[in-house]
């Protein structure tokens, strides 16, 4: 494998993606919402209604450790079990936007023929394009995680006397993020060859957020929570899934379907 080819393809795709408002628009808008609007919302409801909601959620029987009010209990629950899964959709959404543009975009704009006639091998093409989607998706997720944690801590540290972030669950979510992105990218590669354009590819791959969005609901009903063990099982599952999806996407990659 020629590393220069992989690097050239990845850089070209990233340069092209971030030169198009249809790509960088959602890439800036979604993080802005996740990193700024959500912490402010969290702080607001925890300050004004957190105790009441916590009482409803956990009932009066829940023992609140000394020194920690129900507001803090609520904000911890909200930040990890409700917002956590929402944050986990970040790598999926960003990866699907970039990967769909990278793969289906080549097909839609008919640029694939000039790329596929070059000496770049299938592995080089896929590696370059996967990196071009994975790197921005992961970096954006990290930036959003850090921003969210920083803003939430800033508003709550004086009130609760302790920093909420970082914590084990959030570290585990960060570890899960690249594998969520890889699974998404692999799905996009498989889907891109069979659809006509970028939008269809994005819509189909974005369906991957649905299983993630089930987590907040089951959390509310205390079926499960984003504990360390849950996230560890999730990581093992994602490792296997991303490996399988990437294997299939390489195995069944057919240039002719992109022409």
């Amino acid at each position: 494998m020629n590393a220069d080819h992989v690097y050239a393809i990845a850089m070209k795709d990233m340069k092209e993606a971030f030169s198009s408002i249809s790509i960088y628009g959602p890439m800036l808008g979604i993080p802005l919402f996740f990193a700024v609007v959500l912490p402010v919302f969290t702080v607001y409801i925890s300050s004004y209604g957190g105790a009441a909601i916590a009482a409803r959620l956990f009932g009066t029987a829940v023992a609140v450790p000394a020194g920690i009010g129900k507001n803090l209990l609520f904000i911890k629950f909200f930040a990890i079990n409700i917002l956590g899964p929402i944050f986990l959709t970040m790598p999926i959404i960003t990866a699907s936007v970039i990967a769909a543009d990278s793969f289906s975009g080549e097909k839609e704009r008919k640029t694939a023929e000039s790329l596929f006639v070059t000496p770049a091998t299938n592995i080089e093409l896929l590696m370059g394009k996967i990196l071009a989607s994975l790197i921005p998706a992961f970096l954006l997720t990290v930036v959003v995680f850090v921003l969210y944690a920083g803003i939430t801590n800033y508003f709550t540290i004086a009130k609760f006397g302790a920093a909420l972030f970082p914590n084990t669950s959030w570290y585990m979510m960060l570890v899960n993020a690249p594998f969520l992105a890889l699974t998404t990218i692999g799905t996009v590669v498989l889907v891109s060859a069979r659809v006509r354009g970028v939008k269809e590819s994005q819509q189909i791959s974005a369906l991957l957020v649905l299983p993630i969005l089930i987590i907040p609901f089951v959390s509310v009903f205390t079926v499960t929570s984003l504990s360390f063990m849950f996230l560890l099982y999730m990581l093992i599952f994602l490792l296997a899934t991303s490996a399988l999806v990437l294997y299939l996407s390489i195995r069944f990659f057919d240039r002719e379907r992109f022409i």
Binding site: N2, D4, H5, A8, I9, K12, K15, E16, S19, S20, R109, K110, T111, A112, E113, S114, L115, F116, V117, T118, P119, A120, T121, N122, F253, D254, R255, E256, I259
Partner: protein, 348 residues
């Protein structure tokens, strides 16, 4: 005689008898194997005759739609092949098959002695470095600059220090000052020039060009023609697809007339044109001429002022017609054969 010797002698006799009895069948079997061997034509044999491209009974279907039907093609080193045909004839499909972008539904294509595969290794990557392709869609990345586009492809072709070569090519086509402009900001003609520069970037042995002059201005078309002629003189092989009949005369080439996925005619421009029957020719003169009185292997179909439409029996008659008009005192301003009909006529 030991038992072993008896057994060996017996076996020898059996084999001898078998050979004698089935000698004819043996020859037939050998002949069949040889035929299969030659039909399959391994890559080294395809190179023996200096063919850089060899297509053997290639057909291509898209679903149930037939795009190409049993096409065979040979292109030698330093040969210019012009694919001429109307829209949808299969010219682009044939070029994409040669470029390795499509797989044939049946038949085989050898390029520089190898078949191009979808999933290829190092050896084929080396062959692909020697092929250039400029499709009819420019296939440039719109959101990045001209320079970034060309640098990207230069990296994939492993061209060392490509900036100088890129600047020279852009300079040749008079677009060097546009190199930092995004492709989406360029006109169709300029995009086509950039696509041609990309195809010329890697100094390849085989150049596949699909309607490269479709949107070029006359000066750029002339420049392209001169460049391609020089490349052919240097030993490069070019397959050039066009639907413009006037391009027949632009290049000294072998012409393949393609229609409905089949090769209808092969030969030089003159041999192809002389086979056409009943062509309409529009002649305009500066002065008034009694066109009806000019007799020969043609008929006057229409006249309007100093403009006349003659139907000639064959294209080779046109010079005679022009001479006759001139001889009768007509000062000829322009001669146009009605090109749009010619390809359709040839394709029938």
């Amino acid at each position: 005689m030991t038992m072993l010797q008896i057994h060996l002698k017996y076996t020898y006799n059996v084999v001898q008898t078998f050979i004698k009895t089935y000698r004819a069948a043996g020859f037939a079997t050998c002949a069949a194997f040889s035929a299969v061997f030659f039909i399959s034509i391994p890559p080294n044999i395809t190179c023996m005759y200096g063919d850089v491209v060899r297509a053997l009974s290639v057909s291509k279907y898209f679903g149930s739609t037939k795009a190409l039907s049993s096409i065979s093609l040979r292109v030698k080193k330093g040969e210019f092949v012009l694919l001429l045909g109307p829209n949808g004839a299969g010219k682009s499909t044939l070029l994409k098959l040669v470029a390795g972008l499509y797989r044939p539904t049946s038949g085989r294509i050898f390029v520089l002695g190898s078949e191009l595969h979808n999933n290829f290794g190092t050896k084929e990557a080396e062959i692909r470095k020697r092929i250039s392709f400029a499709g009819e869609n420019y296939a440039l990345y719109d959101h990045i600059t001209v320079m970034d586009n060309l640098l990207f492809f230069a990296k994939l072709y492993d061209i060392p220090d490509p900036s100088e070569r890129i600047n020279a090519l852009l300079g040749d086509f008079g677009i060097e000052d546009l190199k930092h402009r995004r492709v989406e900001e360029l006109s169709r003609g300029t995009k086509q020039k950039v696509a041609i520069c990309r195809a010329l970037l890697n100094d390849s042995d085989i150049l596949l060009l699909d309607e490269p002059s479709a949107f070029l201005d006359p000066a750029a078309s002339e420049l392209l023609r001169a460049k391609l002629e020089r490349l052919v003189r240097e030993g490069k092989s070019i397959i050039y697809a066009t639907q413009r009949i006037d391009e027949l005369f632009n290049f000294k080439s072998n012409i393949l007339l393609i229609s409905r996925g089949r090769i209808k005619m092969k030969g030089s421009a003159n041999s192809i044109l002389s086979s056409i029957r009943n062509v309409d020719v529009e002649i305009t003169t500066l002065n008034s001429v009694d066109a009806g009185a000019i007799k020969g292997n043609w008929t006057l179909k229409k006249s309007s002022g100093n403009s006349f439409v003659f139907q000639v029996k064959s294209v080779s008659t046109i010079p005679e017609l022009i001479s006759s008009i001139a001889a009768s005192g007509g000062k000829i301003l322009s001669v146009n054969y009605l090109k749009e009909n010619i390809i359709e006529m040839m394709a029938d």
